[in-house]
Amino acid sequence: MSASQTTVEAARIDSPLAEFWRRFRRKRVALAAGAVILLIMLVAVAAPLLSPYDPATPDYDNILAPTSVLHWFGTDAYGRDVLSRVIWGARISLAVGIISAAAGGAVGISLGLVSGFFGGWLDNVIMRLCDVLFAFPGLLLAIAVVAVLGPGISNVIWATAVFSVPAFARLVRGDTLALKQTVYVQAARSIGVRPLMLMLRHILPGAMPGVIVNGSLRLGNNILTAASLSFLGLGAQPPSPEWGAMLADGRSYIGVADWLTWFPGLAIFVTVLAFNLMGDGLRDALSQKLQ
């Protein structure tokens, strides 16, 4: 290798994302939480293979059977296997969480980019709208949306997506304001890169770490809100093995068949906790100040 070649080679600069990953790898609790999330996802995908019974078929000879070798989590008032229902329920909860966070994220990111990049009255209008959405607690806002659209799991997804928007928008707006001033964005602008390309190729990647942190915390939050709505009877409707709806069913059997409330509740708790722990780890990896 000639000497001239080595002098030309610039010092390697990690992209913010690679740097971020390097720091995140050291957080053991967050990594464990990530593993739990992967496991839950796997369970959700492989539900037909993993669940020992059909989640919807009643078995009237085995009504309210306690936990046993045949039914690890017991059976419900229709003799349906609770373990199978919890397994299938993972599909619903994850789908609700992921779709609503992705939809809310997509809208929020776009609004944040536009708001931060163009500024002016557009910025003002978007941010005031976000303030209004922010002022309401998520669950009440979701109830209001469900009130308009009617109960049902797909409407719950929209409801939770709506209140995911402002957090993403504010976050991305802040990052955009900062990134707009960086040398590389200024350089790209000076050689005539169009605004859309500037936003998508040069600013968005820099805003991604924050988006990922917020996304993880959002997912947990949205799963919890969706389960709450189903528990209130405004989300997934009874035959569905949604965890919140299962808890609503089980509450009449407290003291008689506690496993009906134990296992779906535990499933919600573990899932939400995993997303929160991972989000915390991601956030710590992101903020240098706490290092």
Partner: protein, 306 residues
């Protein structure tokens, strides 16, 4: 100070107006014909029409809005289309139980949450911090409705110490206010800790230490005072969020409050009650935000002058 108060109060009026239009319009978007629902499945078209006229639903929308606001100004919120009771009466009966529930939850959650936060912040990285933060992250992840059901199963069904639900004596308050407060205590603990950690790195704290002040004074006088500013805001906002949580907790414990009424009104498409509830909740949020602003101005004189 007085001028600041007046300015903020006047500023809230257009917001309220927008909210009222939004609330009115949004309820009109609901699926289903309330006149048809109310008249019952066997009603003849004439009966449905009679109900429609009685509710004023046959008039143009702007007229309905005008009438509604006019009545609103006189404290007349209409009648519940479900119970036929005046809405003001229904809400009046439900208001105090919810207020007491949220206050009880807020008081213990603030005390416990901020204590955990300060202890974790002071003992950063030590076992107190770790225990505190594990409790806090569990608290924000715990579904309130599950917690409520578990508490009922242990303390009411198994031990028989406390009632499963209802409203009346102090025993009725224990489980619901605990359930409602857990998430808020957890949020406040995390927030207080991070505010404290942030302040602990500031120059003036280092200076206080450098000039040889005892650690107790550094923590209480220099760090905590400044850390508490953002915590005030967060606490105020949490109060608003408790109202959301109350919806779930009131359902679990059969609490005769506003949250339960809201869920019922949505399930039964009780327009007038729904409108009044959402308007009331919005008003509460506006007032809470206002109170937070004022409190902030009291603590920090810079804001008043702006």
């Amino acid at each position: 100070m007085f001028a600041f108060l007046v300015r903020r109060l006047v500023g809230a009026i257009p917001v309220l107006l927008v909210v009222s239009i939004f609330v009115f319009g949004f309820v009109r978007l609901l699926p289903g014909d309330p006149a048809r629902l109310l008249a019952g499945p066997d009603a003849s078209p004439q009966d449905v029409e009679a109900v429609r006229v009685e509710l004023g639903l046959d008039k143009p929308v702007w007229l309905q809005y005008g009438t509604w606001v006019g009545h609103l100004a006189q404290g007349d919120l209409g009648r519940s289309s479900r119970t036929r009771q005046p809405v003001a009466t229904e809400i009046g009966e439900r208001f105090m139980p919810t207020l007491w529930l949220t206050v009880a939850a807020m008081v213990w959650a603030t005390l416990v949450g901020m204590t955990i936060g300060v202890v974790s912040g002071v003992r950063r990285g030590q076992w107190q911090d770790q225990v505190g933060m594990v409790l806090a992250v569990s608290g924000i992840s715990f579904p309130a409705f599950w917690l409520g059901l578990l508490l009922i199963s242990v303390f009411s069904v198994r031990l028989g110490w406390l009632p499963t639900g209802g409203y009346g004596t102090w025993q009725h308050f224990v489980l619901p206010s605990f359930t409602l407060g857990v998430a808020v205590a957890a949020v406040l603990a995390r927030f207080t800790r991070s505010a404290f950690v942030e302040v602990a790195g500031e120059d003036y704290v280092r200076t206080a230490r450098a000039k040889g002040l005892p650690e107790r004074l550094v923590v209480w006088k220099h760090a905590l005072r400044n850390a508490l500013l953002p915590v005030i805001t967060m606490t105020g906002l949490q109060f608003g969020f408790l109202l959301g949580g109350a919806v779930v907790v009131e359902t679990v414990f059969a609490w005769p409050g506003l949250g339960r009424l809201l869920v019922d009104s949505v399930s039964y498409r009780d327009y007038p009650v729904m409108q009044a509830e959402i308007l009331l909740f919005s008003l509460e949020f506006i007032l809470i935000n206002l109170a937070v602003d004022v409190l902030y101005a009291v603590v920090n004189p810079e804001i008043r002058l702006r």
